[in-house]
């Protein structure tokens, strides 16, 4: 377990409540919340450290510095009887002044101090109101950021706050219940179908620890993007636990058809003709997930397709590949993918999987009913959907089929609280419309012959 920030790895940036996942690359500019900086100085600091953005770089800060910049508030009012709505006139600092301060290189904290000093109404506000005012200004002007170790919790929070549509509007309550309801633990063999950018897979991978098996179902020929998962800095060994399998092979699998072989793999030996090589390498092909990971979250995505970038002594080196090298890379990739497919095929066919997890935008019933055969009896499943009606249908299908018990269709209400002295109340805004969860346990509907009944 590494507790220190390392260049070349993904981290989570945090400013106030705003999170962002980025890969720290040497000398590579990061843009975060209207701040621009290179991450090089963060190397070697403890995760969770606070940095100040200073002249395009990061400076580690400590408590004394922060204390120095604090303005001790001495005077405050009792209530709002003296407050007159001045429609913005209470602030004597004009926009130009603030911009000038910024240009002079004043820190966000100094600017906030000036704003407070030049507000004619500030001292008349109650202490609580003053806190609120400063917090609001901090959100805008603060130049402090924190760098956190990427964990499934932070990645989920990030997606919930920034990209709810990409994760089917799932909220923490559903995400957390999915992995407990399906009893995910080290060594679990899980069938997963998610269209959540890999966010659910990230949590599942964290819970699997060092061993287990994931059959990752996807639409189309190649696995969909797993951006969220790529932030976890998974080791090569852990990536190997994920075996992608195309949904389009599910029907043939149930019908007992063998997995079709990949024509490219058989052609390997014969391809010598350069034109043939060109056409093979330039046909539409999606890069494998690990490589995609390198490209994501960067602001300038300048990598030409399929050329590899590596780090040598902390410097980026780019190798331009010849067509035949590209073909070799591609064949290698296809080979890996085919091996994964075969492994997944066998997993699904054996019917001994430990759990099924689904959170996708598709109609769940046909997929789930087709997957039931891969699940061992007495094992749990969880299906999330944005809408209630498809899960109602699946609920009925499952009850009628007698193949599942303990069915529960749930909706969770989650509320955040502001807990401060004399100011405790639920947050003014709360999230709703965060989807539904169907959970249950598979059973074997046949009466076993071994059980002698009296």
């Amino acid at each position: 377990m590494n507790d220190y920030i390392t260049l070349g790895e993904s981290v989570i940036l945090k400013k106030g409540d705003v999170l962002k996942a980025v890969k720290l690359l040497p000398k590579k500019l990061i843009v975060f919340e209207r701040m621009r900086f290179v991450p090089d100085n963060a190397e070697g600091a403890l995760f969770g450290s606070t940095f100040k953005i200073d002249r395009g770089g990061l400076v580690l800060v400590n408590q004394e510095e922060v204390n120095q910049e604090k303005n001790a508030v001495t005077q405050s009012g009792q209530d709002n009887r003296g407050i007159v709505d001045t429609h913005g006139d209470s602030q004597t600092l004009k926009r130009e002044c603030i911009l000038q301060m910024k240009e002079e290189g004043q820190s966000g904290e100094q600017i906030i101090g000036n704003l407070v000093n030049n507000s004619s109404t500030f001292t008349g506000k109650t202490k609580f109101s003053q806190t609120k005012y400063v917090k609001k200004k901090q959100k805008k002007y603060s130049s402090y950021i924190q760098i956190h170790k990427p964990t499934a919790r932070l990645i989920c929070k990030l997606y919930i706050n920034r990209e709810p549509a990409k994760i089917l509007n799932m909220n923490l309550d559903s995400i957390s219940q999915i992995v407990t309801a399906t009893n995910i633990r080290q060594g679990s063999k899980v069938v997963v179908l998610e269209t959540c950018s890999g966010m659910l897979l990230a949590l599942i991978m964290e819970r699997l620890g060092l061993e287990g098996c994931v059959v990752n179902l996807h639409v189309g020929e190649t696995p969909s993007n797993l951006f969220a998962l790529s932030h976890l800095n998974l080791s090569e060994d852990k990536w190997k636990l994920i075996n992608s399998f195309p949904l389009s092979q599910l029907g043939p699998l149930i019908a007992g058809h063998p997995l079709p072989s990949d024509p490219l793999l058989n052609a390997e030996v014969e391809v010598k003709d350069p034109e043939m090589i060109y056409s093979l390498t330039h046909e539409q092909d999606v890069v494998v997930v690990e490589e995609k990971a390198n490209l994501m979250s960067q602001d300038g995505n300048d990598e030409p397709d399929k050329d590899t970038t590596s780090f040598v002594n902390g410097k980026r080196k780019r190798h331009y590949l010849t067509d035949s090298e590209k073909l070799a890379v591609k064949i290698e990739r296809r080979k890996k993918r085919h091996e994964q497919k075969e492994f997944a095929y066998n997993c699904l066919q054996k019917g001994q999987m430990d759990a099924i997890i689904m959170a996708c935008r598709f109609h769940p019933t046909p997929i789930f009913m087709s997957l039931m055969g891969s699940l061992a009896p007495s094992k749990p499943f969880a299906i999330y959907h944005e809408y209630q009606e498809p899960l109602m249908e699946l609920f009925v299908q499952l009850s009628v089929s007698n193949s599942a018990i303990n069915l529960q269709l749930c909706e969770t209400f989650m509320r955040n609280y502001q807990v401060l002295s004399e100011r405790t109340h639920p947050h003014v805004m709360m999230s709703t419309g965060r989807g539904y969860l169907l959970t249950g346990t598979k059973v074997n509907k046949e009466l076993p012959s071994t059980n002698k009944s009296d």
Binding site: Q130, K135, D173, S176, T424, N451
Partner: protein, 375 residues
């Protein structure tokens, strides 16, 4: 034994969950020669051995399902010695504490062991739960349960008062969970148990006053804690049911009235298109000939009607009878012949509307900066 998921057949000394219905499950430890009485008759333990988990099992007066226990099934069936934590809170706690295989966790108090089982599952096989209980009886019973469930390798239970005696480990825990009447008084002990390189804490309190005291202490400058967050979770479990509601008579008996009301210009010109939306519900029609037998209204009725002008004259309004053999029995709506049938989710009349406030924070004494002004 029992929480080992690798086996698929029952063995002696296993804990199994006997499933008799949604609200009736029974935890049973399989012992040689023993018999458990269920509402479906006697369950002979000797015959259970070798039985496949998840398969039907014949009792003397019917059959039941024998399930492999999971921490979640255990939570719904365990003997209550205290108020217990339920699945939604447990899920949020394990998630927010960032538990995973290898995590070291401190818990106080053990209570009935509902959360403990879920923690052990998640941190096994390399992690450990140190759980502290100050009640002698609960301490002993939980200890026996852990032993019987084959969990001893990943849990140690201690009989002590966390506020006075602290946790058994120092600078070793990745996460601390507190479910005690005065969590604020145990905060120094929790901080001591957590790794100085960082960790997570959670306190569960049914009442807001405890939560307030705890949060105030977490936010005190120099506490080493930050990112304090308090949430509440309520789960509503739905029952899927088909419901049939009657359609009232608004006086459509007279064919001329009916034609007028159901015509394109009338207020009900849309009404009998419901056949297109069967997922939500459909109109059940009873005809005079086949009373009581539901049949679907013809699909896309109105569109066809608009398309073929000449058919307008012979039928009443939008609803016609001349579509095909299966539509023969279909007649225009009238109060006694109609019901609106749909599938819906019915929420229980009463649910756990409040369990407790969950407060989470990160502990990071080495890098924790107090960025909050004016506090």
């Amino acid at each position: 034994m029992g929480f080992d998921t690798s086996r698929s057949n029952v063995a002696y000394n296993d804990l199994v969950i006997v499933f008799m219905g949604h609200d009736s499950m029974l935890p049973v430890t399989v012992k040689q020669g023993e018999i458990t009485q269920t509402k479906f008759g006697a369950l002979k333990h000797n015959e259970l051995v070798g039985h496949e988990f998840g398969a039907k099992f014949n009792c003397t007066k019917g059959w039941v399902y024998i399930l492999q226990p999971t921490p979640e099934l255990w939570t719904t069936t365990l003997p209550h010695r205290t108020q217990i934590l339920y699945a939604p809170d447990i899920a949020m706690i394990t998630f927010q504490l960032e538990l995973k295989p290898g995590s070291v966790v401190c818990e106080s108090g053990t209570g009935s062991g509902s959360l403990s089982h879920a923690i052990i599952r998640t941190v096994a096989p390399t992690g450990h739960l140190h759980t502290v209980e100050f009640n002698q009886d609960r301490y002993e019973k939980a200890g026996v349960e852990f032993e019987n469930h084959g969990l001893s390798k990943n849990v140690t239970i201690y009989h002590r008062d966390v506020i006075n005696d602290g946790f058994p480990v120092e600078n070793a825990a990745d996460a601390v969970f507190l479910d005690i009447p005065r969590p604020d008084e145990a905060l120094p002990q929790a901080a001591k148990a957590l790794k100085s390189s960082g960790g997570r804490i959670c306190s569960f309190s049914p009442c807001i006053e405890q939560t307030q005291r705890f949060c105030a202490l977490l936010r005190r400058p120099g506490s080493g804690f930050r990112d304090v967050e308090t949430i509440e979770i309520v789960r509503k479990s739905h029952n899927v049911k088909r419901v049939n509601i009657p359609v009232a008579d608004i006086g459509l008996g007279n064919p001329e009235v009916k034609q007028h009301v159901l015509s394109d210009k009338g207020p009900l010109n849309y009404a009998y298109e419901t056949g297109d939306d069967l997922a939500i519900g459909h109109v059940i029609v009873r005809t005079n000939q086949e009373a009581g037998k539901p049949c679907k209204p013809p699909k896309r009725q109105k569109v066809e009607n608009v398309d073929s002008q000449e058919s307008n004259s012979e039928a009443s309004g939008n609803v016609q009878q001349k579509k095909g053999p299966e539509d023969k029995g279909y007649t225009a709506p009238s109060a006694t012949k109609f019901g609106y049938s749909f599938r819906t989710c019915i929420a229980p009349k009463e649910i756990y509307g409040h369990t407790g406030y969950l407060t989470f924070a990160s502990y990071c004494p080495e890098v924790c900066l107090d960025l909050d002004w004016c506090q």
